[in-house]
């Protein structure tokens, strides 16, 4: 019984020693920054895709691949998506400033 208690205490002490750096303010800050960067990376990638798709759409209409009705429907949706992503990027940038 006493041996088990001693082992448990030693295991807890070892775990605390190993995990302590993760709970220091600088480590938490680094982790928060990494997560924020990941989200920002994702938003930029999505925004780039929306802009690329809009450019292609214009070309598709110019070359007759799609008609005016399809163009209008897709342009509005793609523009709305690009603006939505731009707004999210701006909000993140403002949050960092």
């Amino acid at each position: 019984m006493i041996a088990a208690a001693v082992i448990a205490v030693l295991a807890l002490a070892a775990a605390a020693f190993v995990l302590a750096p993760l709970f220091r303010p600088d480590a938490l800050e680094a982790e928060r920054a990494a997560k924020a960067l990941s989200a920002e990376e994702d938003l930029h990638a999505r925004y780039g895709m929306a802009v690329a798709a809009l450019r292609d759409l214009e070309e598709d209409r110019a070359t007759g691949k799609i008609g005016d009705a399809d163009f209008a429907a897709q342009e509005a949706e793609l523009q709305a998506r690009a603006l939505e992503l731009m707004k999210q990027i701006d909000e993140r940038a403002a949050g960092r400033a």
């Binding site: 990376e41 990638a45 895709m49 690329a52 070309e59 998506r81």
Partner: protein
């Protein structure tokens, strides 16, 4: 069971009265490439835009790595690389500057190194410091693919990537896609170029008016 890179179930998209994609079921796993063939209006580009989260499905569902591609998730960060037929390059910058800019924007840890590696992979190092506007269409598209691949996306969506390319550039582009797939990425390539599509992808389907009308395995010599 492993979550597929892309899974579409009864995926439908209408534009007004026209059904661009009709109840499509499709699964593409990690490390797999799929070529999408079909004429104009077949639904190829619509499928890519839905997969990229740029358009909403009218009905049915589409998931990238088990998630709605319109919703960002930290674990699915920048999972998608989308190469359109018009490039997103800045004409007055060099390919290196363009790719480094993208690498920086994506928050990569060593953007200079990653940009150089991406340009090397596309055989573009020798023109990496010339302004984009001085490059041929083929070299510009190679630079665009380097930009698309620089953050090592896990799902590549390629819309007519070989249009206007000379054969050497098309071969290099296909090789880069195969490399990415060999490294574990999934790829979907919409193309009119049957040879490039079959060289890039093991599996293929033909879409017609939003529905698959034929499919096959290029490794068994099956052709559309």
């Amino acid at each position: 069971m492993t979550t597929p890179a892309l899974a579409a179930r009864a995926l439908t998209r209408r534009f007004g009265a026209r059904e661009a994609l009709s109840a499509l079921d499709l699964t593409v796993g990690a490390g797999e490439a799929l070529a999408l063939f079909g004429g104009n209006g077949a639904g190829k580009t619509t499928l890519l835009k839905l997969a990229a989260g740029l358009l909403r499905a009218t009905s049915g569902s589409i998931e990238v790595e088990g998630k709605d591609p319109r919703k960002g998730a930290p674990q699915a960060r920048a999972a998608i690389g989308y190469l359109a037929h018009r490039t997103l390059l800045y004409d007055d910058l060099t390919p290196f500057e363009n790719v480094r800019f993208a690498a920086t924007m994506y928050g990569l840890s060593d953007p200079v190194k990653r940009a150089r590696e991406a340009l090397d992979a596309m055989g573009l190092s020798h023109r990496g410091d010339d302004p984009v506007r001085t490059l041929s269409r083929g070299l510009q598209q190679r630079a665009a693919l380097a930009r698309t691949l620089v953050h090592r996306p896990r799902l590549l969506l390629l819309d007519e990537p070989t249009t206007g390319l000379d054969r050497e550039s098309a071969v290099l582009l296909v090789a880069a896609v195969r490399d990415a797939v060999g490294a574990g990425a999934a790829a979907i390539m919409a193309t009119h170029d049957v040879e490039a599509g079959l060289a890039a992808a093991k599996h293929w389907i033909v879409l017609e008016r939003g529905r698959p009308v034929a499919s096959g395995d290029a490794s068994r010599g099956e052709r559309p």
